[in-house]
Symmetry: C2
Subunit: 123 residues, 2 copies
DNA sequence: GACACTATGACGACGCGTCATTGTTC
DNA sequence: TGAACAATGACGCGTCGTCATAGTGT
């Protein structure tokens, strides 16, 4: 599959796909003229990359974790294991903070909506 | 309070505080010589700003929402209310995705840890 | 040969970190 | 009179968006 189709199917932009490759996270084949050719597995791979980016991991951290995804039973160093555990803890913390923010926002919305109903009632 | 103390108490960096001001989210007084002077309320204000940034809101979106925080019963436009509801939905979605990523990471960690135990056992 | 797709390169945006330089406070 | 703090300005970073320009596929 070519870059445009992969973009559509994975949810990433064409620009992002080229960037991921630049970061060593994707290694497509090339046609004779230089166009990138991806295999089917690239779709899931890119979705994973996007999830990890969205969770706040950097390109280099993702690069460090990927071998563990590709070969779970291979050379996963203790260092990588530590990194993954750190990220896990960070994400959990992030979830808690997001829930707090969400609740605070809900409170603001309720207050504003109540005020709007008052305005309507007085009209 | 001066900028250094506010930074320490709010968790933001001095650089970030100046940036927030640049974005119109903070309006400290100034001494005759030009130093920024914040009131006590600025501490909570900055903590709120940081939570909103961490939840993925942009400076301009935060600026749009702030009046609603400062004067809940005042000029909260329908437009602002819509923005807040959009952000609420986005954050909820983000929480779900983070939980998925967290679980996926946990799975990887377990697999890698299991493999490590095998190595130890065979030694 | 037209038209969509792709390639590379460069610049821009956002939310700051960081450094250099100069002035302020105590 | 130091020593810590603050001010402004500028550049850098990561993750792309966006545009320009040129080649490719059908």
């Amino acid at each position: 599959v070519r870059i445009g189709e992969l973009a559509e199917r994975s949810g990433a932009s064409v620009r992002a796909l080229r960037y991921y490759e630049e970061q060593g996270l994707l290694s497509p084949q090339r046609t004779a003229s230089g166009q990138r050719i991806y295999d089917e597995a690239a779709v899931d791979r890119v979705r994973l990359l996007r999830r990890l980016y969205a969770a706040g991991l950097s390109s280099s951290t993702i690069a460090a974790v990927l071998p563990c995804v590709d070969a779970p039973s291979a050379a996963v160093t203790a260092r990588t294991l530590t990194t993954m555990r750190e990220q896990y803890a960070r994400i959990e913390q992030q979830i808690v903070e997001l829930m707090t923010t969400r609740d605070q926002l809900a409170y603001l919305i309720d207050a504003a909506a109540a005020h709007e109903r008052e305005l309507l009632a007085s009209a």
